[in-house]
Amino acid sequence: MVERNLAKVEVAGSSPVVRSAERARSAADRALSRFPAPPRPGPARSASGPPRLTFVIPAGDSRHCRAGAGPGMLEDMSERVIEVTGLRRRYGGPGPEGFEAVRGMDFEVRRGEVYALLGTNGAGKTSTVELLEGLAPPTAGQVRVLGMDPCRERGAVRPRIGIMLQEGGFPSDLTVAETARMWAGCTTGARPVAEALDLVDLGRRAAVRVKQLSGGERRRLDLAMALLGRPEVLFLDEPTTGLDPQARHRTWELVAALREEGTTVLMTTHYLEEAEALADRLAIMREGRIVLSGTPAEVTAAQPSRIRFRLPEGMAPAELPLDLPAAVEGTRVEIRTRDLQADLTRLLLWARDAGAVLAGLDASSASLEETFLQVADGPAGADGADGAQGTDGTGGDGRVERVTA
């Protein structure tokens, strides 16, 4: 991204946008070069303003800044685009007939990140996203999007965000192009309609009525409308549900390209491979709370790895190295470990010394799916509010945030 060791970066006052890096054209520019981005509203980019400070950022420190929306622009990656504290949402009254869908959420999303909310149905993902989108005020707690209250300051927030709901909501008797034209007429700095439709491969369906579209095509139309205003922040609620595999991958490419362009994305999804492919960080929700969050690697690292093998003929389980916690069923052995390399080494050294052949030996780190099943699906109370089950103790390097109630 930056050639030499250090890139000089200037910041205008406390403005979150880091500017004037010498060169910052990235893969994103190539991916979206067909559609040059016009200037967009956002953090001030005017020449006047508070005195400039100069910071020096080590090259390759992409955690703090990376290629921005235009040539020669870097985006400050530490800017918190979405901040959520103590968020609660209750439907119905305070009595027993009411239901609390969101029960105290805290998280933040930095500029340019793709953040995924995972969880089973009813975990509170959509209820949370609706609060972030400003569709309803929270029962308690605070939401800030681009530093503003998305509900009370929606007039200022909306032109800078794009929203894709879980279910469309376009008049069935309008054509695709008419729908896009209506939406463009309501959107500041809208892309040309044809361009927006081409982004999601709907250009050829422009003259078709919405009611004649397939479910997947409607999802793509919805996505196109969310992208129409070149949003800084994009909210996607299950963007690929109902898409065929090809369209799903196309959507992933699009989201990845937008991310490279500097768009911040908050998405919910049922598909773990989607979160694994796209998300910089993710949070697994259960019953209105975040139970586990971090990068995909951190989240899976919080789960123990597994070593599996079959006991050699005539060997008793008691002969295994005793300090390894092992579950034995017949001749099958499964060892769960937080330190796969050390424990595997010990096991193999023992096997060599004992002259044992471990048939069907298999060692694997936890997958996101295993983690998800372990964490997201547990019955209420079975593992306690502290989520001690399965993920006992803290995650490896301590960077995984375990959320306790």
């Binding site: 200037p39 967009r40 869908a101 569709l135 008049p171 007429g185 500041t188 040309p192 205003g229």
Partner: protein
């Protein structure tokens, strides 16, 4: 199309699209939908014509009664026609349209965009209101040409009455749609207001028992009707005119205030199908 003005491009920041542009855009889409919906088109174009014809024959039969109440046949046909236009073209039509858009979650989707709730509802009402006003002009012109006793003497109260009536009916449609499940049930939920509003058109209030007349005076369209009639007869003096005008404006305003809590028209449907929390 691009949404940028020259100045805003020079400043490097696109100017936020104005409320007018957003409402035009919504109105255009709604007009397209109106043209594509046969039921709505029938209600909006043919029904008023049929009702005016029916009103004409009824008025002929009641000519003596009307005269007793100080109304001429021509005036009754014309003012009755205007009320019918408001009820059919604006009220019935819009109630069904709002309910349909909510059912299809269009309102919810629009609420995720830049338009405010008021802009969404007003933008959607625009085609019906304009169509109704055009029909009002046509009807007044036609009756004035065809029937000697229906030439308006004071066009201003007439125009104000028609305008305020149309706006009030749009507001009433929002309120009615808030408890209307879908476009079909709008044919039922819109009936009560429709029927009672028609009574004072053909039955002079002066001929009715006082209590009933007082109740009918409270109907939303009555002040508009009085305003419009005074346009023909010139019968109202300054104070009465102002009272009717004030009442009509207050009703519009009060209706608007009533709308505010129901404006999240999406709400019932949203929660019904939003789904996850029910799981």
């Amino acid at each position: 199309m691009s949404g940028y003005s020259t100045t805003s491009v020079l400043l490097g920041v696109p100017m936020r699209k104005g409320a007018g542009a957003r409402m035009r855009s919504l109105a255009r889409a709604e007009l397209t939908l109106l043209v594509r919906n046969r039921t709505a088109l029938f209600t909006a174009l043919l029904m008023p014509l049929l009702m005016v014809a029916a009103g004409y024959s009824v008025s002929q039969d009641m000519a003596d009664d009307l005269a007793e109440g100080g109304l001429s046949v021509g005036m009754t046909v014309a003012s009755g026609g205007l009320v019918m236009i408001m009820l059919l073209v604006v009220y019935s039509n819009l109630t069904a349209a709002y309910a349909a858009r909510r059912e299809e979650r269009v309102l919810k989707r629009l609420r995720t965009g830049e338009p405010t709730d008021g802009e969404i509802l007003a933008g959607m009402a625009l085609p019906s209101v304009l169509l109704a006003l055009a029909q009002c002009v046509l009807l007044v012109t036609a009756t004035a040409l065809l029937m000697a006793d229906s030439v308006p003497r004071q066009p201003l109260p007439l125009a104000l009455g028609a305008l305020l009536g149309c706006v009030l009916m749009a507001v009433a449609a929002v309120v009615t749609a808030s408890f209307t499940r879908n476009a079909e049930s709008a044919q039922i939920t819109a009936v009560p207001l429709f029927l009672v509003s028609a009574v004072p058109v053909y039955v002079p209030l002066e001929l009715l028992p006082d209590t009933l007349a007082d109740v009918l005076r409270l109907l939303p369209l009555t002040p508009s009707l009085e305003l419009m009639r005074s346009g023909w007869s010139g019968g109202l003096d300054g104070t009465e005119l102002l009272r009717a005008l004030g009442l009509a404006v207050v009703l519009d305003g009060a209706g608007g205030v009533c709308c505010t809590p129901v404006v999240p028209l999406g709400a019932p449907a949203v929660n019904r199908g939003g789904g996850e929390r029910n799981a």
